[in-house]
């Protein structure tokens, strides 16, 4: 990580990560449809170049924060697909022991500080990591992902303003996929581009083609450097598109299938990058197929892993409410042990 995509290997690796995200979410889509994955899932297909372009520009020590749409960011930041999928299955071997699921993934070792499905909450979380970086004179920085809809939320405004005022080493990456649930951009905003907001904070606002992994990577590298140089935050608006509904199951009355197909066919980040690498003579069809085959094998293993992983123990539901135990929680845990499945009966 923290690389320019300046060698064929690195470019192929970026391509592979995009393919991995795509394939991971294909499995999530199908296994959710089968009722094998519980809860709510939000796929990021179509947006892979943002996740990969940003995270290839980061070091392992840099933190990211993410949203309800976190699979791509997580994989790009280095989380293992098997444990991530196990988390989506609610299994003990998942990144959060099954406690979090698709909407709440974190792995601090990999610099994934957490997915936050409360819209906007990823942003103060990232600003807070920036405080730590600044006060400890660290050589890492923080990146907060959020969506085009989230910038209407007050906490996003507060957190960007705070980061700008304190010149924290944070980059705000707004993935503008043009929709928030079923609402289109101009139902929420009176500007053309989210990047215009940056002027309210006196910080650079960059617009980048979110379907172009190279462009995203370059914009992000520059912003990261500014952050680490003490020049404060940058707001990056990545123009992108999600192929699937807001959540799996969304009937999408708000847009046409043609619109989706048009993006898929003409602006797919994987296809385009593949073609670019092929045109540059860096990727043969066979090489691409090899990537695909390898990724498919990884995902087949991940599905096996997730399926066969253990259910978390019911009584582990009482863990991690606090670091230091509280008698209330202890009492509930004990009663459960005494008397089976037990929703609680007073204290």
């Amino acid at each position: 990580m923290t690389e320019t995509l300046d060698t064929p290997e690195k470019r192929r690796s970026a391509l592979r990560t995009m393919v991995l995200i795509r394939e991971f979410e294909n499995h999530v889509r199908d296994r959710f449809a089968d009722n094998e994955i519980p809860g709510f899932v939000h796929l990021s297909q179509g947006q892979e170049a943002v996740a990969v372009g940003v995270c290839t520009a980061l070091s392992r020590d840099d933190y990211i924060t993410s949203t309800h749409r976190a699979h791509g960011h997580s994989l790009a930041k280095g989380l293992e697909p098997d444990r991530l999928l196990a988390e989506l299955y609610g299994k003990a071997e998942g990144h959060c022991g099954g406690r979090g699921g698709s909407m709440h993934v974190a792995d601090l070792d990999e610099g994934m500080l957490g997915a936050q499905p409360i819209v906007g909450a990823s942003v103060p979380l990232g600003t807070g990591a920036g405080i730590t970086a600044q006060l400890s004179d660290a050589d890492w920085m923080a990146t907060a992902f959020c969506g085009d809809g989230s910038v209407a939320a007050g906490q996003v405004h507060e957190a960007i303003n705070l980061a700008a005022t304190w010149q924290l080493p944070v980059v705000f990456v707004v993935e503008n996929n043009q929709y928030s649930e079923g609402m289109v951009f101009d139902e929420q905003h009176n500007v053309e581009d989210v990047a215009e907001m940056a002027s309210a904070y006196g910080i650079p606002g960059e617009i980048v083609d979110g379907q172009d992994v190279t462009a995203v990577n370059e914009t992000m590298r520059a912003a990261r450097e500014r952050a680490l140089d003490g020049d404060g935050p940058t707001l990056i608006e990545a123009k992108t598109y999600r192929y699937r509904g807001h959540f799996e199951g969304d009937e999408q009355p708000y847009r046409s299938q043609e619109e989706v197909e048009d993006w898929r066919e003409n602006r797919d980040p994987i296809d385009n990058y593949r073609e670019r690498l092929a045109a540059a003579g860096e990727l043969t069809d066979e090489e691409f197929e090899a990537i695909r085959t390898e990724v498919k094998a990884v995902m087949a293993d991940a599905v096996e892993f997730a399926r066969n992983a253990d259910e978390p123990a019911p009584e582990a539901a009482y863990d991690d409410v606090f670091v230091e135990e509280a008698p209330e929680i202890d009492a509930f845990r004990e009663r459960m042990a005494a008397d089976g499945d037990n929703g609680g009966v007073g204290l």
Partner: protein, 329 residues
């Protein structure tokens, strides 16, 4: 069967249909009523308002940005200047984002301005666990709101209550937060037809009469409690408080005077939860009638976990209510 449906013609509706029908009636009856919320034009979360935008148009049913504070705060402003906004907050877990507007604006505006304004605002909030939606989309937060001065709170457990209370909420000149449990939208029940059926704020409903034990149960746990009552060797009175504030202490205390035994089943976290207020009101009003330790059934102070096995562990069901009943007899 509650008092309201006893001697009236009824039709069978789901909770979802009952709420939608109530909102539709109010939109038809009063031009000042309008609905706003995220994705509301497509029916909002859980499709409760599906079709209303098509029928009433943008002025009456509209999408908002993801700005809960502005939604509720501007709702207060619109209410104070003459409209009757119904704001859909969607998941009740999001109430934190606009809690100031609920607590300090909706709840206190009339009081602190010496009665200068009224705030006829209705807030819809969707609660409850059971869909593996994890810690931030499964909460039950109605106790927080019931504790706020100047705010009324209702949490119906039947379609009749949902229909009748929604109409009362929209018509009320006070701010009312209307809590809907997301797992019982398909619960069906009899709802009186005709005659502009309403349920007043502040009246509990004896859903099943009994002699030995009183179970006060809300929302999803109302159904679970009725099921649990079938499995015990005691005559169980099941009461849906329906309105959390005002709370119908008389109906609860009267029941205790008869049964002497109390179980409170509600999906709030147990500590400082709704249960404690019900226990305390009963203790204050029927102290000498209580024959056995009271029982609370709720969530054991944890956030709601994602994993189904863990969610099942912390979220109470009929079995938990049954065991609680058995401990009292």
């Amino acid at each position: 069967m509650s008092a309201e449906t006893a001697d009236r013609e009824t039709e069978t509706l789901s909770m979802r249909e009952a709420i939608r029908a109530a909102l539709r009636e109010e939109l038809l009856a009063d031009d000042d009523v309008f609905i706003m919320g995220q994705d509301e034009e497509d029916g909002g979360s859980f499709e409760v308002t599906a079709g209303l935008h098509d029928e009433f148009g943008f002025d009456r049913v509209r999408n908002t940005p993801i700005s809960e504070a502005a939604q509720i705060g501007s709702g207060v402003g619109a209410a104070a200047t003459g409209l009757r906004p119904v704001v859909n907050l969607s998941f009740a877990d999001f109430i934190g984002v606009c809690f100031d507007q609920v607590m300090n604006q909706a709840g206190k505006t009339r009081y602190m301005f010496g009665g200068a304004s009224e705030v006829p605002l209705t807030i819809r909030a969707i609660e409850g666990a059971g869909l593996n939606a994890a810690a931030q989309h499964s909460g039950t937060v109605h106790t927080l709101v019931a504790h706020l001065p100047g705010v009324k709170a209702v949490a119906p457990g039947t379609p009749a209550a949902a229909m009748g209370l929604m109409k009362s909420a929209v018509r009320s000149n006070d701010p009312v937060v209307f809590f809907e449990n997301k797992t019982i939208y398909e619960r069906h029940g009899d709802v009186p037809t005709g005659d502009d059926f309403t349920v007043p704020l502040g009246e509990a409903s004896i859903e099943q009469a009994g002699e030995d034990v009183t179970v006060v149960a809300t929302q999803r746990l109302l159904g679970e409690s009725i099921a649990a009552a079938r499995d015990v060797d005691a005559s169980v009175e099941v009461i849906d408080p329906r309105s959390l504030y005002p709370l119908d202490t008389d109906t609860l205390a009267d029941s205790l005077r008869k049964t002497g035994r109390l179980v409170v089943a509600d999906e709030s976290p147990l500590s400082y939860g709704l249960h404690a207020e019900i226990v305390t009101r009963v203790v204050e009003n029927a102290f000498w009638s209580i024959d056995a330790p009271v029982q609370r059934v709720g969530v054991p102070d944890t956030p709601i976990p994602f994993a189904p096995s863990q969610e099942d562990e912390v979220v109470p069901d009929a079995d938990d209510v049954r065991r609680a009943i058995q401990r009292t007899v």
